[in-house]
């Protein structure tokens, strides 16, 4: 343990506490997972105000979990935060910004199993630097159905000269994103993403593009609504609060196909993946003409 202290500023605690009871995954294993994934996570979440879902006693449904925007009491001074005034609640919120390994470890040590990020950076909160398509299947539609829709979406976007990237949500959906130059407002990007969804719904019976239709059984919703300031998606490689400890996993487009299952990507399998499909994505920013 002494040696551990030399490697990280974070005082790690309760490492043997079980976080995922069905598969007996401990807090120590969760922290180890995030350490291993840090090189892939940090470049993407850097300079963004983060939102946490903390599970201090693990993920079982009878345990407390909470959504946290404000840096909690006792946040060490070396953790970077960004103060943003919330119009809706009329108060300042000190968001955590995670640009280094120690902060990521600190988040894992806080039992922030799920980490969420907005679509813009702290220096330009009103200007999104990527578009977000939430491909969200409603039962009995599954991830497999969402994959088919995502492939249609990919073709459509590539036809427009854009470069889409994809990840699993870690639950039943898929997240398709396009890095863009941060020059448009959310209003514009939201309208653009909505428009693509409407076109897609015209071409496919499975797809719905409007919020009111989201609960229609068997449909896949192309959700555009998150393209708004401080709305978030779960970060790539975030664990989810599922019994199998599934992970929101960036995929190569060749992996997106029928028969794909959320439980293919868990805390055990993802850290062994050689692929890094979102590597340097912000160097591949598209210029969006809207």
């Amino acid at each position: 343990m002494e040696e551990l202290k030399e490697l990280t500023k974070v005082q790690l605690k309760n490492l043997d506490k079980i976080f995922y009871p069905k598969i007996k995954v401990t807090k120590g294993q969760v922290i180890e997972y995030y350490i291993k994934m840090a090189p892939k996570i940090l470049p993407i979440i850097a300079d963004r105000p983060l939102v946490l879902t903390r599970y201090p006693d693990g993920i079982d449904h009878d345990k407390v979990s909470f959504y946290e925007k404000n840096a909690p009491d006792g946040t060490p001074e070396w953790v970077k935060t960004k103060r943003i005034y919330s119009e809706t609640t009329k108060r300042d919120v000190d968001y955590i910004v995670c640009n280094d390994l120690d902060t990521l470890i600190w988040l894992a040590n806080l039992a922030a199993l799920e980490i969420h990020m907005p679509f813009s950076k702290i220096n330009a909160l009103e200007k999104p630097d990527f578009l977000f398509f939430d491909v969200d299947p409603e039962a009995p539609a599954t991830l497999s159905d969402a994959a088919e829709v995502a492939l249609l979406l990919k073709d459509k976007l590539r036809d427009l000269g854009l470069t889409p990237f994809i990840k699993t949500s870690g639950k039943k959906g898929l997240h398709v994103i396009i890095p863009i130059e941060p020059e448009h407002t959310f209003e514009k990007t939201r309208a653009f993403v909505h428009k693509i969804g409407i076109d897609l719904a015209k071409e496919s019976d499975t797809v719905v593009s409007e919020f009111k239709d989201t609960k229609k059984p068997g449909k896949v919703f192309a959700d555009y609504l998150q393209n708004s300031p401080l709305r978030t998606m779960v970060i790539p490689y975030s664990l989810r609060s599922t019994h199998e400890a599934t992970v929101s996993t960036p995929l190569d487009w060749s992996e997106v196909k029928k028969g794909i299952n959320p439980t293919d990507f868990t805390i055990f399998t993802v850290e062994k993946r050689k692929q890094n499909p979102w590597k340097n994505i912000f160097e591949k920013k598209c210029k969006l003409e809207i």
Partner: protein
């Protein structure tokens, strides 16, 4: 056979022991009517408690008050009370000064109104005391019967020791009991949490399902279905210790820390590499 099972299932009586001494006596006052009563504790916070001992010689430890300036132990006659008005600034009082402003218990439970018992939300409930007849059993019985018949509770106030409480006089298992209440300023209004600001209306299908689950799992509340498992396990451990058995406590594996260090070194190396 079935009969036998039924009898086995009958739960044994689970309740705390009757206290020996009353903690207060006075009377319930409703207008001009007085009902003399004695007040007994009725709630115990049992749980398990341990004493701190000195590891090396097994002797009980005691708390002492130490001066934060020179770490010297301060005797009681040198202790006074300070109210912090600003950081590290105190207004001091001696005990006598404070005793003089303490409210006097006037030995009355003053009932001003009768209300529906269920109209008082349990969040306000503080502590319940049993009331037993003092001198006259007739007045007690009359009030008990009338309250039970009307299904009402008396709302009023009582001063216990040095604090005045709002209180509810009600019936419980054929007795009059008094539940002290918290003041409105002691209780958080959950609507003040920002989490509740944008609550979505549930979809009808989801709501129907949720209601069905609730209906299917509905039943009568029985407090004896709940057991304090921690206390039970500690009691088992105590019994084992008394029998001289060694207790095996599983230690968290050190392996975890080792895995973490390997991962940390690897990742730190990777992050130092220019991307």
């Amino acid at each position: 056979m079935a009969q036998e099972k039924l009898e086995k299932a009958k739960p044994e009586k689970v309740s705390a022991a009757v206290p020996r001494r009353s903690i207060w006596s006075g009377s319930i006052t409703i207008g001009l009517v007085n009902v003399p009563v004695k007040l007994y504790s009725m709630i115990y916070d049992k749980g398990v408690s341990f004493h701190f001992l000195h590891k090396t010689d097994g002797q009980p430890l005691k708390y002492v008050k130490m001066c934060t300036k020179d770490d010297k132990i301060v005797p009681w006659n040198e202790v006074t009370r300070g109210y912090e008005v600003a950081k590290n600034e105190y207004v001091t009082f001696d005990k006598k000064e404070l005793d003089e402003v303490k409210p006097e218990s006037d030995k009355r439970i003053r009932i001003s109104k009768f209300v529906d018992y269920f109209s008082v939300d349990p969040v306000y409930f503080d502590r319940t005391y049993a009331l037993m007849p003092d001198k006259s059993k007739e007045a007690y019985s009359l009030l008990l019967t009338a309250l039970a018949r009307k299904n009402k509770a008396g709302a009023g106030r009582i001063t216990l020791r040095t604090k005045e409480y709002p209180a509810l006089l009600h019936t419980y298992k054929g007795a009059l009991v008094l539940t002290t209440l918290r003041y409105a300023y002691d209780v958080v209004d959950p609507q003040d949490f920002e989490d509740l600001q944008k609550l979505k209306e549930p979809e009808k299908a989801e709501l129907d399902l949720a209601i069905k689950i609730i209906t299917d799992l509905s039943g009568d509340f029985d407090i004896t279905e709940f057991e304090d498992t921690y206390m039970k396990r500690v009691e088992e451990l105590i019994a084992q210790k008394l029998k001289g058995e060694k207790i095996h406590i599983e230690k968290p594996p050190e392996i975890e820390a080792k895995g973490l260090m390997v991962a940390l070194r690897e990742t730190i190396k990777q992050l130092e590499k220019p991307q």
